[in-house]
Symmetry: C2
Subunit: 370 residues, 2 copies
């Protein structure tokens, strides 16, 4: 791989991603300043994840807004592959989805793909991925979604609803399509080959347009769905993409639930968070204090700064001070880490309380097959 090479697929992210290049590669649209203004006008708010380009790209978000302004509501759909406990990277699209639900007052479907993770991870059993699906559902509920308008789909549990829709999609996709889209080979198992049609299914669960906030690595699934939709008489799903959340150990990939060192789980204790960040968070600082004071740090590659920017410091003024102080050398790497640790632990203290309460709420969130 040369310096500016990178790989982004639903099952593998590698390299230093150039998001402008990725937009061209995937054929999506950059979120323009006009579109930002339009969202701000409709919602009355300027979400920091939009403003900061954490959500940077889309497909047909403008159509969703056109319809909305005509009085035609859409619904939201996102999901998670339950290969382990939820980590803070997962919360990015979910938090944003919650904001969208609040602002547009729309239905939300959350898909937990226990089958996908069983197919794609040689060592995971279906019992394990199903157990993680329930654990992940608690984190999702803990974010405060409207229980009247939010349904959680677990693939093996809700397959009776999903399968007939997936079948309509599957009939229109051949092996060549999956090779071209996902890089599948003759050695790929047939569960994986079929699976994309199940990730498509929730797009058509209501007879309304759908908007999907999601990590850009999941875009290939819906590129296929968008090709198929008109062939089965349905509307194409619209997407809004977030960047990949870096691993604690630095850029060049994404945070992964199966890489324990590089990952902060929502179930981590305050001391675990502290240790992980102090030990593993990739620093943009200089090798020693003297040099740092003299040369300053590089916030662009500093993971602690990036986590503040992406998720934990929504206040632009405060973030700006941190940026300037770190760049000038006034703020040391250890101090920057301390800010992040405090932010994460405050967040997790509340989140973990809500997560406990979610155990009593989960039943009302679970989608029931008819």
């Amino acid at each position: 791989m040369s310096a500016d090479d990178f790989i982004v697929t639903p099952w593998h992210v590698e390299g230093d991603i150039d998001y402008d290049k990725l937009i061209k590669q995937f054929g999506t649209e950059k979120i323009s300043s006009e579109l930002l203004e339009r969202i701000k006008k409709i919602t009355g708010e300027d979400h920091f994840m939009l403003r900061r380009g954490i959500f940077f790209s889309h497909r047909e978000l403008t159509r969703i807004l056109d319809e909305y302004e005509k009085g035609n509501k859409f619904f939201l759909y996102t999901g998670r592959g339950p290969s382990g406990h939820t980590h803070i990277g997962h919360l990015v699209p979910w938090m944003f989805a919650k904001w969208l639900q609040d602002k547009f007052d729309v239905n939300m479907y959350f898909q937990l793909t226990d089958d996908e993770k069983f197919y794609s991870k040689p060592n995971l059993t279906l019992e394990e991925t199903k157990k993680f699906a329930y654990e992940n559902a608690l984190d999702f509920i803990a974010l405060g979604f409207n229980p009247e308008k939010t349904k959680i789909i677990i693939n093996t549990k809700n397959i009776k609803t999903l399968y007939p829709i997936a079948a309509e999609v599957a009939k229109k996709i051949n092996f060549s399509n999956t090779k071209a889209t996902f890089g599948f080979t003759n050695e790929t198992n047939i569960g994986m080959i079929f699976y994309t049609s199940l990730q498509s299914a929730p797009c058509f669960i209501e007879d309304k347009p759908v908007l999907i906030p999601l990590g850009v690595d999941q875009d290939p699934h819906f590129r296929l769905t968008r090709d198929i939709a008109p062939k089965i008489g349905k509307q194409k799903p619209a997407l809004i993409h977030n960047i990949m959340i870096p691993s604690l150990e630095g850029p060049g990939g994404k945070m992964s639930a199966s890489d324990e060192k590089g990952t902060i789980y929502t179930t981590d204790s305050p001391s675990e968070v502290k240790n992980k960040i102090n030990k593993h968070a990739f620093s943009g600082g200089q090798p020693d204090i003297e040099q740092h004071r003299k040369l300053g740090g590089n916030p662009d590659i500093d993971v602690s700064y990036q986590y503040l920017r992406i998720f934990f410091e929504p206040d632009d003024a405060k973030l700006k001070i941190i940026h300037e102080d770190y760049k000038s050398g006034k703020l040391l790497s250890g101090e920057l880490k301390a800010i992040l640790i405090e932010k994460i632990n405050s967040f997790l203290a509340i989140h973990q309380e809500n997560r406990k309460k979610a155990k009593n709420q989960i039943e009302q969130f679970l989608f029931e097959d008819k």
Copy 2:
């Protein structure tokens, strides 16, 4: 295709099948006279479909009998792809399965693969295949299966039970395997590619050995299942194969539910049966009566004679007389057809009565997901 070439796959049967060659090609075992004797000894009866080689081949039937004699019961499983109304060719393995259920007093699962026929037939909708599934179920019930021990599975209806089992199988099958087994190509749709794992699933629905009576064209599915079974800690399914039932229009294929002229449906009226046989049943007779009287007919290629042999005349003595009289020229083709028409219409008169009654019984036969 040269003269002795033939093709036998679950979705395509063509040519004049040499069953001894097919046994070698598929790697199955011929049902030996010793095995016939053993079955007769256990069941106390000599079923004409065994005696006449309609069921001609097996995989590990001996293991099933060994276990049975040790007191370990097996269960039965067969099925049907609901692409149209039931025709009399379908009834062959079902009638035999009913006999097996009666003699061994075992559970029976009948799978209706509405999804498969949707995937494999470009013009059929899932609503249509599901409708045919219910129609076909009536024919199955009409044959008199034990309602206490018989469950009908409809794939889209019972997917919640089937899918987790299918997933275990699917994880162990790759695209190469399906290419080698079914001749799939890059253009095959991903529903078809995944589907075989759903046909495997009922093999593992009980924790007992399974015996599958089935048309030999379905063997490839279970060849794959037998490869996978030990990898998922399960017993290999045992099989007993029947020959392909020829179309009315003659040898070189099998009767097909989508070829109306060549097919007698269980829903046909007496006059439809009469017309179809008189008009379309391939004859082994001579071009005119004079030559027929002189040279005699060929029962081996005469479809009417074959239907009597395969299904409608269980009495060997009566069949022998028909065979001799036709061969000698004493029995004319029209007369042979008249015998068959009478036999089919007598059978269908009772069957259609039972089929009506089945509408009130169907609920107790339908498998319910937990």
